[in-house]
Symmetry: C2
């Protein structure tokens, strides 16, 4: 077993045992190196991995926000991992889209009509309705948050994280795709209307209809942008 894996195992053990929790701080790198009788280099390699996994955040300086603190951002880890494997062309973009449809339509069908996340989703929709002064990038940013809020309303943290990571993994492609659209304003209007319809269905407790609308919403967008379900290559 390599040295940095020993450090990883130690930290994971601390997490599992509850001696280290979200918000807590890891010992300083030099201290940890001395404690575990390894070099600071190995400690740093382990911390880098945890950072890439969204488990810790390293901050320089001093004070309460400095040092290496435990966080929990599963979406970051899954997102970058998926993006890299898409880059190796071992994960087709079409599969990503299909999985996104699966997860989001399930979430829409299972979302509780009184979930607080729906209020946030409604607020985001209101923001997207302000046609004036809203660039394509701004619109898509709000769109991402709307979909994430909607997925979170189902109350399954794993599904939320995975759905967010899928979106993140193909974010680059999604941005490019907008340039393929014949008429962005028309598309944006349609997306807005579909968003409202989805939210209404969820609010009325009609999960089946919500799920169907979400699936059509996502598939429709990618097909309009030229990334049909048949294309297996980026």
């Amino acid at each position: 077993m390599r040295t940095h894996q020993l450090v990883l195992a130690w930290i994971e053990d601390q997490l599992s045992a509850g001696r280290l929790a979200v918000g807590g701080r890891l010992p300083a790198e030099r201290t940890l190196a001395e404690q575990l009788k390894v070099s600071r280099t190995s400690v740093r390699e382990a911390i880098r991995i945890l950072e890439a996994m969204g488990v810790v955040r390293a901050g320089v300086g001093s004070g309460p926000d400095a040092g290496t603190v435990v966080i929990s951002d599963p979406t970051a880890a899954l997102g970058s991992a998926l993006r890299l494997h898409v880059a190796t062309q071992h994960l087709p973009v079409a599969d990503i889209v299909e999985t996104r449809v699966l997860l989001e339509s399930w979430a829409a069908g299972k979302a509780r009509p009184d979930a607080p996340e729906l209020d946030e989703a409604a607020a985001l929709l209101a923001g997207m309705d302000q046609a004036e002064g809203l660039s394509v990038g701004d619109f898509l940013a709000l769109d991402v948050r709307f979909h994430f809020a909607l997925a979170s309303a189902a109350g399954n943290a794993v599904v939320s994280a995975m759905m967010g990571s899928l979106r993140e993994a193909i974010q680059g492609y999604a941005a490019e795709l907008t340039s393929n659209l014949p008429d962005w304003d028309a598309t944006a209007s349609r997306l807005r209307a579909e968003h409202h319809a989805i939210l209404d269905a969820v609010r009325k407790g009609d999960g089946g209809r919500a799920a169907g609308l979400v699936a059509a919403h996502i598939e429709g967008y990618y097909q309009e942008a030229g990334l049909g379900a048949g294309s297996r290559e980026p």
Copy 2:
């Protein structure tokens, strides 16, 4: 931007551009450090991250298998990330199980009856039927491979990878759970029968029935082991 992220960006760019593909070898650490005008330490940190993501594999020595070669093992990355976040108690085990049910039942419903992966699944089932000389660990190992083969038959690499990572993330718990079972032999017999029923349904093209059987199969196991859908804590 930190130095190791520069290295990461360079490698990801090489992958996206196709100048680096699965099976290819990265330049040696010292060479890469010199090329990018950074220290070897920073190069190593980047490679560590890629290794944790299942994108590369580092091998010492010389020869065709040595050096840092590009691979593609998305399951490893997602699995360890999920496991760590389960350790931080920000991803409830119940959500993992629920997501697994969602993905696997979808895959069972969508699997093509003539998919070659089903032959492998059948072979694994035959192996599990050899009751003699099969330890609990062996049985579970075959079980993992059976479920993965079944999920792969749907032809969606993302769903397969995610399903495998979910299983891996709670593998430790699953092993512990077997000790809660009142009668392992009886449970094993039931699991065998359910496996055959699932495979039969898929082979006959009855996706709906297969999906239902898979959902019942997974939920039944965890409930029998004392991890009901209601438990939100490990």
